[in-house]
Structures are given as structure tokens and as C-alpha cells.
């Protein structure tokens, strides 16, 4: 089984996405033998009211809950986020969050964000953070959104030891405490592999050595990205089949209680 913890539905403001409806994404997943995917709203990245995107995703996945696992995009500085969180969790059955601190212009260390993380943790929700949405060099002339610095993630995981985080679309973990062995950090975060190198520097292999295969998860970034590069990484990864199985699906199943 393959579970993708890094997938999206809806439109992105700066580029046309293909395969961005539930039906189209499922067809793409079928063509790549991907069984399940965690999805959130791509539109909510730039909607002011992110909840509108959550509603769209909830409607899209309603009849596909066996394969599409919805996550909510919540901006803790936007009015009514507590109501949105409650609705997303209790009515839409969303099992986790996606946070965009740079796109939504807030600090992970802010009081509001702390309240959101605590509230989501209280509900048993997983919190995923895309380190980037797209390569900054191809950004629109309208904006300049930096990647989330890994130092800020370090502080976040330290401050919230009971929360569970999945870090998406990142690289350079091995140059940060996050990817080092015996780093003194709580083991409350997992790292998704879509941008990690699997040959040459082989950051993927290093993370498995340093943190254990239990802390690495499969993800593609589709439909922003082709799913195939992530699948190729799994193919060339020099590790045991049981460890690959953890990365392919078991870790996600454990974290998402599937």
C-alpha cells in the first residue's frame, strides 16, 4: 500500500493545476498505484477566508473518504478560526491541519498559532507544515513568500512536545537539528520525502539513519508536482523492505490512525 501525505485539491492562484478535482486526482493515483492521499485545499493558500477552501475540499471528498483524507487549512489570525477548526474536525471529519505561516503572514511562535496548535492537539489532529508551496525563483511579480525557516520549526516542535507534526516539501534537514541524530528534540515530527535527495547527497538515507524509518513518510506534492519523482526515490532507496513499507504507508497509517 502507498499513502501520500502531501496532496492537494482545488486551484492555485499562480498556476493552472491539472488533476485537481477528486475524480482526476484519484485517476492519477490509480495510474501510479497510490492507494490513499491526504488532501487539503490549494485555494486556501491564497483565499483570505481559508475556510471556503476547506468547504470545497469537504464537498469534493465526501464520497471518496476511503481514499482521500482531508486536512484543514486554518489561519489562526483570521476571524472565527476556532469555529472553523471545530467544523472541519467535527463536521467534515478532517484529521489534521496544513499551516502556511509565510503565506498567511504570521509567526509560528505567535500566541494565536500556539492556541491553534494546542487546540488541534487536544483534538488529536496531526499538523502538517509545507516548508514551501513552490520554488521561490518562479514566484509571481505580485509577491515574495519565503520558505519556512527550519529554525522556526525547531522551536515549534520544542514548544509543543505533545503535538504531532509532518513537515512537507522541505530539504536541508540534515544541516539542521531536525535531521540530526540525538538532537534533543521531541520525536513528535515526521519528514515527508518529496524534495529529499535519494542519490548523491542522499538526504533521505541520512534521515533514515539519523532519525529512523519511522520518522519518514511518502509524499508527492501532487497535483502541484509530478508524483513520479517521489516514487523513483522509493525505488532507488537502499534500505530494507520493512523500512520501505513503513515509509510507503505504515507510518502514515499509525499517525493518522487508519
Amino acid at each position: 500500500m502507498i499513502i501520500d501525505v502531501n496532496a492537494y485539491l482545488g486551484h492555485f492562484a499562480f498556476r493552472r493545476l491539472r488533476h485537481n478535482t477528486a475524480a482526476a486526482l484519484l485517476a492519477l493515483m490509480d495510474s501510479r498505484n497510490i492507494d490513499k492521499a491526504v488532501v487539503s485545499s490549494a485555494s486556501s493558500i491564497t483565499y483570505r477566508n481559508a475556510q471556503a477552501g476547506n468547504e470545497e475540499v469537504a464537498a469534493e471528498v465526501r464520497v471518496h473518504r476511503d481514499r482521500l483524507i482531508p486536512f484543514a487549512v486554518i489561519n489562526p489570525f483570521y476571524a472565527g478560526w476556532q469555529d472553523d477548526l471545530k467544523i472541519c474536525h467535527e463536521q467534515f471529519g478532517m484529521a489534521g491541519l496544513r499551516l502556511y505561516p509565510k503565506w498567511h503572514n504570521y509567526q509560528l511562535s505567535s500566541k494565536c498559532c500556539k492556541e491553534l496548535v494546542d487546540a488541534a492537539t487536544e483534538r488529536g489532529m496531526v499538523i502538517s507544515i509545507p516548508i514551501r508551496v513552490e520554488d521561490n525563483r518562479q514566484r509571481s511579480w505580485l509577491l515574495n513568500v519565503p520558505d519556512v525557516p527550519l529554525e522556526e520549526i525547531v522551536e515549534l516542535v520544542k514548544t509543543h512536545p505533545k503535538a504531532r507534526f509532518i513537515l512537507l516539501n522541505g530539504i536541508g534537514y540534515t544541516r539542521s537539528p531536525l535531521g540530526r541524530k540525538d538532537n534533543g528534540l521531541p520525536s513528535n515530527y515526521a519528514i515527508e520525502l518529496s524534495r529529499l535527495s535519494a542519490v548523491l547527497a542522499n538526504e533521505l538515507g541520512q534521515l533514515i539513519t539519523n532519525l529512523g524509518a519511522e520518522r519518514v513518510m511518502f509524499g508527492t506534492g501532487m497535483p502541484f508536482k509530478y508524483p513520479d519523482p517521489a516514487l523513483v526515490k522509493l525505488e532507488v532507496l537502499d534500505t530494507s523492505e520493512p523500512e520501505k513499507e513503513k515509509i510507503r504507508s505504515q507510518n502514515a497509517m499509525t499517525w493518522l490512525r487508519l
Binding site: 491539472r18 518562479q138 535519494a198 519523482p229 516514487l231 532507488v236
Partner: protein
């Protein structure tokens, strides 16, 4: 050529990603991953240096690769890792240059890089093909270095970086020599919607299109359309420049990028590359919604066609 065409490979060099899976797509790869790889069956020699045609049919050629500068303490091991990665991914040949760590390169600097590239071609015979890297600002010295590398050392092309925008007159003698020798120029390029301060003379697809119109006989390769700039802009800028090929390399794996390039400029103008982003490079081609025949062209045939136009 068929997708089942085989090449010989020792067990330790058995690719994890077979040619068949590279061409068919990931679903096929998952199903076929436990099956015999196309390269393991006895057949055609995979080392092109041992073949009468060094750019023989059926090869997967990475048109944009780099060996390591020797100021890097691990250069030798890192060069070996590049070949090992190519082995794992089913890449037969890598068109390599070495760049100076700091630019603009001095004449001494680029000559040293090319000497090391020539050494790399000897260390990995048939696997590494060399690009001659020069800084056009060195005029006669740059031209002499190109003559030496192409004519005496068997390099396959010229690599230009960001010392000058490719439309500046100082670049023209390099292009004219490339035409005379019948070799391609791989030109660093990117287009961002802001001024890139550390690369003030960066070329983009528009500059390359302009250069191509000035020199319609030139064989130009626009580097890494997925190298971080706005790839949609780059592809559109090159639509009407038939003598510019687009290199698919770069770390960006945006869905639809290869497909759009194929739709706008045609598959005959796309050449596969990685630029050290190895799984990204292979995965994008695998993921593109193109026929096997079209992928064959991108993976090697188009580059082979270019390399066969050499006049020496």
C-alpha cells in the same frame, strides 16, 4: 529501437529504474520493480566508448551534468557517486562540465576545469562526455581552449554560464566557432520576475531565442527549464526558435512542465537532463503524458542527433 532493447551491466551496476519503467511510467515501474531490468539481460554493450558509434541508439543521455571541482575535498568520491546514481537510474551517458566555484571564471580557472573534465572522461570512459566551459570574455584564450577541447580531447560541446548574457557581442565568436565545429552550446538560463542580483547577466529563453535568430545554424540548448525560474515563460519565449533545444533538468518537478514543453515546442526539441537533481530529472520524464516514442526522443535520440552533427 524498442523499449526492450538491452544493454549489458554488471550486477552491482544493475539499475533500480529500468529503461522500460522509465518509459512506461511509475505504475508500470511499481509492478515491474521486482522483475528483471531491461539492462540486465545480455545484449548491447552499455559502455559507448567500446562501441563503434559512441552515441549509439537507445542510450539514455543526461544532457546536463557536472563533475565536481577539485577544491571540494570529496570530489573523487562525489564523482563516483554521480556514476553510481546514473547506474541506479538507468542513465547511460552524462554530458558533464566542471564550473569554477566563483565566477566570472578566469582563463586559468576554466582551463583547469576542462583539464579535470578530460580526466573524468578517462576515469569513466564512455559514461562521461565533456562540455568545454569557457568565459567568453577571454576572447582568443576562450576560442583556443574550445579548439583544444573539441579537436584534441574529444569534448562534445561548449558550456556557457552567466559571465555574459548570450546576446552580448563578446559571445558571438564562441557561437561562430561552435557552428564551425558542429557542436552544441549548453547555455545556463533562467527567467525570474525580479532582478537576480547575484547573476546580473543571466540569460533567459528570450535571449536565447534572439541569439538563435541571429545564428540559425547554431545548436543551442537552453539549460534547465525546471531550474527554478518561470518555466511557462521560458517555454513560450522559445516557441519560435527552432534551433534551441530545451533541457528538462532542474530541481523543480512541477506537474505539466514537460508536457507543456512538448506541446509548445514539440518533442523533437526536448533533451533529458538532471543537472544533479537525479530523481527529479528521471521522474519528470516518466511522469509526462507522452508516448514511448516521444520519451525515447527526449531521453537520448534528440541529443544523439545533435552530437552526430559534429563536423570533425
Amino acid at each position: 529501437m524498442t523499449i526492450a532493447q538491452t544493454t549489458q551491466s554488471s550486477p552491482e551496476h544493475r539499475p533500480h529504474v529500468s529503461r522500460r519503467s522509465l518509459l512506461k511510467g511509475s505504475a508500470a515501474a511499481v509492478v515491474a520493480s521486482a522483475l528483471i531490468s531491461a539492462r540486465t539481460a545480455a545484449g548491447e554493450q552499455s559502455i559507448p566508448g567500446a562501441s563503434s558509434d559512441p552515441f549509439g541508439k537507445g542510450k539514455v543521455i543526461d544532457c546536463h551534468a557536472h563533475l565536481n571541482h577539485r577544491s571540494r575535498s570529496t570530489w573523487e568520491a562525489d564523482d563516483r557517486k554521480l556514476i553510481e546514481a546514473a547506474d541506479k537510474l538507468g542513465i547511460d551517458q552524462l554530458c558533464c562540465s566542471i564550473l569554477t566555484p566563483h565566477r566570472p571564471a578566469t582563463a586559468e580557472g576554466f582551463r583547469q576545469c576542462n583539464q579535470w573534465t578530460a580526466d573524468g572522461m578517462r576515469r569513466f570512459p564512455g559514461r562521461v562526455l565533456g562540455y568545454c566551459y569557457v568565459n567568453p570574455g577571454y576572447g582568443r584564450e576562450a576560442l583556443e581552449e574550445i579548439h583544444r577541447c573539441i579537436e584534441d580531447r574529444g569534448f562534445i560541446g561548449i558550456k556557457l554560464y552567466n559571465e555574459y548574457t548570450c546576446t552580448e557581442p563578446v559571445v558571438f565568436p564562441i557561437v561562430e566557432l561552435a557552428i564551425e565545429l558542429g557542436v552544441p552550446i549548453l547555455h545556463h538560463a533562467s527567467h525570474s520576475h525580479y532582478f537576480v542580483e547575484d547573476q546580473p547577466r543571466m540569460s533567459d529563453g528570450g535571449h536565447l531565442a534572439e541569439l538563435a535568430h541571429r545564428y540559425p545554424e547554431a545548436m543551442l540548448i537552453c539549460a534547465h527549464i525546471s531550474g527554478g525560474g518561470d518555466w511557462e515563460w521560458t517555454i513560450k519565449a522559445l516557441r519560435h526558435a527552432p534551433n534551441v533545444l530545451l533541457d528538462t533538468s532542474g530541481s523543480v518537478t512541477d506537474d505539466g512542465s514537460v508536457d507543456m514543453a512538448a506541446a509548445v515546442v514539440g518533442v523533437d526539441r526536448l533533451v533529458f537532463g538532471c543537472d544533479s537533481s537525479m530523481t527529479a530529472g528521471v521522474g519528470k520524464i516518466r511522469g509526462a503524458n507522452l508516448s514511448t516514442q516521444d520519451k525515447e526522443k527526449i531521453l537520448g535520440e534528440n541529443m544523439m542527433k545533435l552530437l552526430r552533427r559534429r563536423k570533425l
